[in-house]
């Protein structure tokens, strides 16, 4: 690939919201003035120490940060045994960044808190969001409850059916959950419907996007709010080990937990970075959610990025065991990091994720969400190949309680 290597991987986006050729502001004119207003409001908030201070307070006392960086001793031992058995006598030392311990059970809350505080600054009283598995919807409903804001969550009708407990949680928190019947009735259609709502109620409404996608400034803003994951990790590993990690691993749907962990390390060239997409039934089957491995550049939901689509540019539905990774696109900054080669993007199948889900539960007493189980599935392959002094940090982006009914149905008596 003949892509120019930049002096810094952290300088994006440019003033047009581009990361290289990716990103941008591909939205209807109705939304454009609001997006420009949002960009200004975000810049003003970022420059205001009071905003940062208020957010830090809620992050500490409401979200429960910092989240632990935990040495996964038995998982490490397990992969060392695997390494020895294959004649390598290696096995990386594995740390888990415990985002699943946050309030609401995933990393999603980091971003939602930031956006809700920004919405309050902008005087918006009505919040809308899209959700797939329901994690972002629950986080949004939670903070709307906390701050007394109206909350409408768009969710594909198929996902409403698949994720009933989260639908109930959102309602309990006072949100209105709208099942989306248009298109393929999944996450991408929920996002379309949220955009339609926003266009209609543009004066009163703040659109709280759940991942590092959408029109500029969302990919940058969500990344900034999630970067607390990587900043804490850096401090914590330096305190524990006295040096930076050798590698980072995170799962990717839209890619917000991964971008949050990766971004503070992008200009540390010795740190290898791995993103893991959902390969569903396998990339070759076409039934997957791996936009980088199995898609090509296109324009959807306000930005240019890698997408799953037909030859004619029609968006295809994604397939993954994990509803949180079931999106046919990926954040534009990931597309940029893929093309520049700074991050290595891999994928894991449904089956591999299910195995890793069980492995972590049994070895560490931590039931991971199916999303980070994809990252763990690739760790199972990467870790045994590394030497023993290799420090590997895995982002445990969410807890698995929400997935237990689904997994128990799939595994049945095998557990």
């Amino acid at each position: 690939m003949t892509v120019h290597q930049p002096n810094s991987y952290r300088s994006g986006p440019d003033e047009r919201g581009r990361f290289g050729k990716f990103g941008g502001r591909f939205v209807a004119e109705t939304l454009m003035p609001l997006i420009l207003e949002l960009e200004e409001a975000y810049a003003a908030a970022t420059a205001d120490p009071a905003f940062r201070q208020e957010m830090d307070g809620y992050l500490a006392h409401y979200v429960g940060r910092p989240s632990a960086l935990y040495f996964a001793e038995r998982l490490t031992e397990h992969f060392r045994a695997v390494s020895t058995a294959s004649g390598l006598s290696g096995g990386a030392k594995i740390y888990l960044k415990r985002e699943e311990l946050n309030h609401t059970g995933s990393h999603k809350v980091n971003n939602v808190l930031g956006q809700i505080m920004l919405a309050r600054r902008m005087g918006k009283k009505r919040i809308i969001a899209e959700t797939g598995a329901g994690q972002h919807g629950v986080a949004t409903a939670t903070l709307c409850a906390r701050f007394g804001l109206d909350c409408v969550v768009y969710m594909g009708a198929v996902d409403v059916e698949r994720q009933k407990p989260n639908v109930f949680r959102m309602k309990l928190l006072g949100a209105e959950v709208v099942p989306v019947e248009s298109g393929t009735r999944t996450l991408k259609d929920a996002m379309n419907e949220a955009l339609r709502d926003w266009v209609t109620n543009v004066e009163t409404t703040f659109y709280c996007i759940g991942t590092v996608a959408g029109p500029h400034p969302y990919p940058m803003m969500v990344r900034d709010f999630q970067s607390i994951i990587g900043r804490e990790t850096k401090e914590q590993i330096l305190a524990i080990e006295g040096r930076l990690p050798d590698s980072l691993v995170a799962c990717i749907g839209g890619g917000s937990n991964a971008m949050g962990l990766f971004h503070p390390f992008l200009d540390d060239p010795a740190v290898e970075i791995y993103g893991v997409e959902a390969a569903g039934h396998g990339i070759a089957t076409g039934l997957h959610a791996a936009s980088l491995s199995g898609g090509k550049p296109g324009v959807l939901h306000g930005n240019r990025t890698y997408l799953l689509m037909t030859e004619d540019g029609q968006i295809k539905d994604a397939h993954s065991i994990s509803a949180g990774l079931d999106y046919p696109g990926i954040g534009p900054e990931h597309s940029y990091l893929h093309e520049t080669g700074r991050v290595t993007y891999l994928s894991a199948t449904d089956e591999e994720a299910l195995e890793a889900f069980q492995l972590l539960s049994k070895l560490e007493g931590i039931i991971p969400a199916l999303e980070p189980a994809h990252a763990l599935a690739r760790v199972a392959e990467l870790a045994p190949r590394m030497p023993k002094d290799h420090l590997m940090v895995v982002n445990l982006s969410g807890r698995g309680d929400k997935d237990v009914p689904q997994v128990s149905e799939m595994l049945g008596s095998k557990v």
């Binding site: 047009r16 209807a28 454009m32 298109g183 339609r196 266009v199 324009v299 939901h301 540019g313 968006i315």
Partner: protein, 277 residues
């Protein structure tokens, strides 16, 4: 460069009436029906034809046009087939302006340069691409102008006076005023406000102003025609088409006459407004 559009709006000005812009989705429910409709529309009173390029994720459209897109895609419509339809229409009608409306992704994937060359030679006069604001002009707008196609921009109630010059800068053919904040075919606009909105646009441009979104009946069309240079109707026609389909979603003997009847009613509404004025 925008010869057919310019000639049409000049003729309308001469006649002292507003024009009717009719929207249909290409390939809904099949290409043959679309072609028959396209050929029938000018005689039914359509002054400008707007043809939708179907997209799987039409986020600026309401349910009627969303479903029209899905019907067309299900029937196998592609961008190449849409250009075929334009060619076939143009072979039979050299005068009626035709603009393509849609979203950027199918064009981007087709290849901007290839698309513009083929669209121009097929007889397309202009493009309306919803998800390309002026901030992204170098993607398609500027190449389109260079290729001799009008890039018709949407102006909306949220486009303030400060922003209007930017929106109008590279617009050609006509300006499309979106009469509501919202998606196509849903809310009915406040007709009194439409007049003042058009007047505001006219302070910034000499281009004709077409008004659309939410215009459903002949009476609506007449009301909008009083203050605008053209009235755009889409969802109502597409909805009329849908109700004529059989249980499997195929066209029936009622499809073409039904849609053309509504076009005639709308055209009468537009013309009645001119007489009243």
């Amino acid at each position: 460069m925008t010869a057919r559009l310019d000639a049409k709006f000049a003729a309308l000005a001469q006649e002292g009436r507003a024009g009717l812009v009719t929207f249909l989705t290409a390939g809904d429910p099949d290409p043959a029906t679309t072609l028959e409709l396209l050929k029938g529309l000018p005689a039914a009173g359509a002054d400008v034809i707007e043809l939708g390029m179907p997209f799987s994720d039409p986020m600026a459209d309401g349910p009627a046009i969303q479903w029209a897109s899905l019907r067309a895609l299900k029937a196998g419509q592609t961008l190449a087939k849409t250009l075929d339809l334009v060619r076939a229409f143009r072979a039979a009608d050299a005068a009626t302006p035709l603009v393509l409306m849609g979203y950027f992704n199918p064009i981007y994937v087709y290849g901007v340069e290839r698309f513009l060359i083929e669209a121009k030679s097929a007889g397309v006069d202009g493009l309306i691409v919803v998800d390309l604001p002026p901030e992204e002009d170098d993607e398609l707008c500027l190449p389109a102008l260079k290729a001799g196609l009008a890039f018709i921009r949407l102006a909306t109630p949220t486009t303030d006076d400060h922003r209007l010059p930017k929106v109008l800068a590279n617009t050609a053919g006509f300006v499309y005023y979106v009469s509501i904040t919202g998606v196509t075919g849903t809310a009915t606009p406040d007709f009194d406000r439409v007049g003042s909105a058009v007047a505001r646009l006219k302070r910034h441009t000499t281009l004709p102003v077409a008004v659309g979104f939410g215009v459903k009946t002949a009476a609506h069309a007449a009301a909008v025609a009083k203050g605008a240079d053209a009235v755009v109707v889409g969802s109502a026609l597409v909805e009329r088409l849908r109700t004529s389909l059989d249980a499997e979603g195929r066209a029936t003997a009622a499809t073409v006459p039904g849609v053309l009847d509504l076009a005639r009613e709308l055209a009468a509404g537009v013309r009645a407004a001119a007489k009243a004025a």
